[in-house]
Amino acid sequence: MIPEAKIEAKKLDFYYGHKKALNGISMVAPKNKVTALIGPSGCGKSTFIRTLNRMNDVIPGTRVEGQIIIDGVDIYSQRIDVVELRRRIGMVFQKPNPFPKSIFDNIAYGLRINGIKAKNKIEEIVEKSLQEAALWDEVKDRLRENAFSLSGGQQQRLCIARSVAVEPEVILYDEPCSAIDPIATAKIEDLIQKQREKYTVVIVTHNMQQAARVSDYTAFLMLGELIEYGETPKLFTNPENKLTEDYITGRFG
């Protein structure tokens, strides 16, 4: 029923110090599909998505048990190069976080740190990435302006462009629209819809309608546990678990 898995979590536990934040999560994110993670605040959905590119490694006192398998390899095994892993698994954060550089340099940044120096190559990728993020037409005449001069929604699309520029295989979205107005949100949702052709997408969202609109598969988490996982239309129309039903019908949340 579920197509080829790009990412698979196997009995994943996660600890902040002694506090267990994730408890035995097992699920997959299928290749070239959008998988949404929903659940009430503090359910561990952001923690989970940050284990997929090992971004939690930078938080002191955290610990992972279990496995995250990407393309058949456990990314927590010794021989994994975390830096290369993060290049392959892009991430767009909750708050747009452009760097205090020009629009152009924001995108070029990832290319430069990955060793691409040729100017024309960089220019070419910057344009391609901005087009992919549907931002090119709005910024093509002001590439040298500071990225902070963009609106919030534009900044987030810039961050998307920045992340696709380094040619990732997976893009992780950690509540990408929570700080953005509805019109800008619609643009970003459009982008995510299209991205499944090229990437595997995992998105954390607080907004159930958003999950229903953009995703193929949905996982519902609560208190660090996976309550239900399945195809999005099914989970939203005919959930198996009572908790899922209560959550998506707005009885709590």
């Binding site: 930078v58 993060r86 976080n97 760097f99 205090p100 990832g110 040298r144 380094v166």
Partner: protein
Amino acid sequence: MKKKKIVELLGFLSLRICLYLVLAVLLLFLYDIGSKGAGTLSWEFLSQAPKRGMTEGGIFPAIIGTLLVTIVTAILAVPLGMFAAIYLNEYAKQTRLTRIIRLSIRNLSGVPSIVYGLFGVILFVNILKFGTSILSAGLTLGLLTLPWTITASEEALKTIPNSYREGALALGATKWQAIRTNVLPYAMPGMLTGTVLGLARAAGETAPIMFTGAAFYLPYLPQSLRDQFMALPYHLYVMATQHHSIAQVRPIAYGTALVLLLLILLMTMSVALIRYRMRRVKRE
């Protein structure tokens, strides 16, 4: 309702009076030194050595001495302080040990400078056998400046949002790449400000250099780092308290004080300029 307004008014008023009082003292102080020192200032005063038992002539050797010793201080304190701050803020785990280290550094900045002077005599002059010299004095001042440099640099690093670091890491940057390309450039103006303010303070110190290298009077300029030197703050101390005819050399003392103040003003102004430049590049 009315009472609230009066309290508010009185509150603001007292705050404002405090500010004016501080300003008044500062202005009085600057006026005193400026008015009494300005008459002494001249090209000869700046470019000639003291003459006739230091009752005439200029303070050129003291200016040179202070500049040289400050350079040695900077060579020790600037890189060491910045790198230590980078390590503490970016790499070190937040354990009890790092908390103790951090607290010790804060406390070191409160140690009286004369204690640094004594420590410098023991370590640099006696144990390392650098003699009473520019090197010993500069290194002593370097130690004195380090806690300030580290603290100021760490504070500057703390102001850089974590999202810059995480954003860079998420694109496949190594930790050092993230720090070097996406943290340091934005922290640098703040780090430099703290550092140069520390250096300016060191340039005006007397006690640490008294035992470690500053000379009462030298008929020649220092030829190497191992030579003794004259320095502005020590020269001022000598002219104000140690000279055989203090009353006669009072104008020279004021002139020296004014030059020292101007030198420090120059240092802080240059930082302001660097900050301004860096900000503009960033906005580009």
